[in-house]
């Protein structure tokens, strides 16, 4: 059972994990150095704990303690109880959904474990926006994808904003970083996947035809600004496009992912 600890001093050092949550650069450093991540909101906190992540601590206003009683019963971590104005003062924003938890990161799994038995995967190159990363996990989960692989420069899927947009899909979806960017496409082909790069390249085929009948598919998605690198685009087994209206810029990567996952799920 979590120990409830009322705190009335906003400078209390035990609140260090929760400081300045809107300062992205500060948070990135702090979370990496301490191996932690933050979950926000009753539903997301509950999902993180249910998925087996160990809380370092929780922080909430008094009125949320009862509703999260089931979660608090499962951990020995401290639960800091603070007033709502003080929660806002510490974190730097109004905590809408009442509860925060600081949880321990786990070591990233090796590629082979993430891919074991997988039939449909997403492979993401250099998507740097946390909102987009969260949306990609959520769409993958919604359409029954088995895993997500991220290039070294992708944004952190355990960053608070990614988790929130993804509705916690990152807790249950197996994922890891690709250790070798350059060799990623041939490696996935060797492992039995047909890599299908989403692109506007001239030699691309409509996505529905590109995935039709493919047994193990890896949908390959590029960055917000410039799409896929030439290396990944050319080294993929197939290039596919989502047929669009003339004269329109491409969809954003989260929308393109949703459509591609929908189509691939019905292949």
């Amino acid at each position: 059972m979590a120990e409830l600890i009322e705190i009335s001093d906003p400078d209390d050092p035990r609140l260090a994990d929760y400081r300045d949550l809107r300062d992205v650069e500060l948070r990135k450093n702090l979370e990496a150095e301490h191996g932690l991540f933050l979950a926000e909101g009753e539903k997301v906190v509950r999902r993180a704990v249910a998925a087996g992540f160990r809380p370092r601590s929780l922080l909430m206003a008094p009125r949320w303690v009862e509703g999260l009683g089931d979660v608090l019963a499962t951990t020995g971590a401290p639960c800091f109880v603070v007033s709502e104005p003080m929660a806002e003062q510490v974190t730097g924003f109004h905590v809408h959904r009442g509860a925060l938890a600081s949880l321990e990161r786990r070591p990233l799994p090796v590629l082979e474990d993430v891919l074991a038995g997988a039939r449909s995967i997403l492979v993401v190159e250099d998507v740097v926006d946390h909102t987009n990363v969260g949306a990609i996990f959520r769409s993958g989960a919604a359409f029954g994808f088995d895993a997500v692989l991220l290039s070294p420069r992708c944004a952190d899927p355990l960053y608070r904003r990614s988790i929130k947009v993804g509705m916690g899909a990152v807790f249950t979806m197996p994922w890891t970083r690709l250790p070798d960017w350059y060799g990623a496409m041939p490696l996935l082909s060797e492992l039995g996947f047909t890599t299908v790069a989403l692109t506007l390249a001239a030699d691309s085929t409509p996505i529905e035809a590109a995935v039709s009948g493919v047994e193990r598919v890896a949908l390959v998605l590029g960055s917000e600004g410039h799409g896929l690198s030439p290396r990944w685009e050319q080294a993929a087994d197939r290039r596919a496009t989502i047929p669009m209206h003339e004269g329109i810029d491409s969809l954003n990567v989260a929308a393109a992912t949703a459509v591609a996952c929908y189509v691939a799920a019905r292949r």
Copy 2:
């Protein structure tokens, strides 16, 4: 030709349109009261002017003046030239893409004009997030939709963030507000549209079947939190769902819109 006016005093009253761009509430009031909206970034500013919106003024750092020469040639509005640090000081953030414009809003068109000749439309209820509104316009444009109708409580598609996420699709896509929320579904049916509500309701059919063979389709999309109101859900001609993996929360509204538009475009 725009008159170039160098300004070195950040408190200069001529910069009023550009102040505190991150303060959403302040901006909403200011923009409504003055009938203006802000476009951000060279590409988006160019698109706004090309679509016939009249600039009140422009604001940019010196190095962007040359690149926007073609736009400046078309307007008699002043172009305020300021240093990059000063642009940041006035607006409250780092202006990545160099240029801003303050443009005049136009009166909203009447429903009949927006729907004239339209074959595929989006009807959006109470989507309050500017990012989602922008993404909905962009997906609609990408898949050849003809118009967007917004319920009275939807977020403003001419808000800076909506425009940016939508890549300016709101400038070219005909849209208006629905004057009467309660009667909207029967009205659209009378006007010859088959209204297809996206929902998780038990009596919904898969989206592909729901739109198959429909001549004039209105895809009806609900809010971020609770989806469609019972009124719209029940008053629509059909209820449709996007088939998803068991146990997963629904897609977010922007992802669902992209998938539904993709499917409807191929009906």
